[in-house]
Subunit: 217 residues, 2 copies
Amino acid sequence: MTGTRPPAPEGERPTATRRARPAYDPSSLVEVAARVFNERGYDATSMEDLSAAAGITKSSFYHHVRGKEALLRAALERALDGLFGILDEPAATTGTPLARLRHIVRRQVEVLVGELPHVTLLLRLRGNTETERWALGRRREFDAAIASLVREASAAGELRAGLDPAVDARLLSGLVNSLVEWYRPGRVPVDELVAEVDRMAFEGLLAQGPAGDGRRA
Amino acid sequence: MTGTRPPAPEGERPTATRRARPAYDPSSLVEVAARVFNERGYDATSMEDLSAAAGITKSSFYHHVRGKEALLRAALERALDGLFGILDEPAATTGTPLARLRHIVRRQVEVLVGELPHVTLLLRLRGNTETERWALGRRREFDAAIASLVREASAAGELRAGLDPAVDARLLSGLVNSLVEWYRPGRVPVDELVAEVDRMAFEGLLAQGPAGDGRRA
DNA sequence: ACCGCAGTCGAACGATCGTTCGGTCGGCCG
DNA sequence: CGGCCGACCGAACGATCGTTCGACTGCGGT
């Protein structure tokens, strides 16, 4: 990476002595790391970047953290715990397939927003290390659960007939997951976002019911 | 990157002598590079990886290309040319806002599929170098054009009323762009894919018209 | 007053990165 | 046939990477 860095958004280290024992608990460092990982990309982020964002030197940073990959793993675990937690909720296991699917989608939006940095990290993995491949596998499990629910709802006639439920499931997951690429807390309230995603996914953008210029390619 | 690499999908170099002048034209090397960039991620990809995928040594590779960033730039230009080409098509500049928007979305799917590796690269940029930031700026222009069209269509009453057109535009772009995360040529025909994305975006997944359990958060 | 220890740091480790250089090989043109 | 030149390669460059090490500091407990 020869090019210059984007304007560094972090890194101010209080003037001289850092006597205050700021108690760097592991979870807060994971949060800092996840944020910087997302700004620069995991591979482009150096331990120097991370320690500077935490306000200490690289060697001090290692006193609190096992290493770069351990930070990644911790962040990914937090994301996956949030996502799989949804599948255990009562509303995700009872009712019609469509009702369950719709609940999961809405909750998935909430978890995405609540754990934004960690989920973002999860959705950008490439699988270069064993840790990344493990997380990718878990993520595939989650997507498979949704795909299975879409298939059920489609078989039950609860979804518009016609095309491939597997493709629909991919598009649905893609729609929800794309949030991490632009959503930032504050601008749009979470419940509004949930309503928008739900409407877009299940009712579409069009004004009238079935009309449009409904042509086929 | 201390971890092991994912199973290397390329790199066989014909046994000994490579006397055949395989004519490594620049554009084919860009294609190879884009593919490997997407597999490993740009930063995690070494010039050794690239040259091995091309079937020559690292130093030979430099005889054909200017450097890593030049390869990235070439691939991104190809992606951006394809996308911006859509905006110049007649059907993208005449007709109602909704008709124009719908045409652009369908064509965008086709370009995404036709230039899959290059567009994928574009959609994963982090902005660490000047080249990346330039491409990100161009991409923002494209998204802004779509957002503006969504706003027009919404103001003309062609879209379901209620919520934020800016959010709708983000969701629409996110839905289309998410294709690069799973679509691979062969499985699903392109025209089917176009129809699916169009239907999902504008009509939604639901079976009946406005019904569902249409609750709000 | 003393000690232990968590916290911090500068310096350095080997590895790998993108890139460059000097030189060899062999087909092609004159 | 002689020489040129594009294709190719091994070796090495300085820079930066993740990580380790030894030493210093100052607070809390005894």
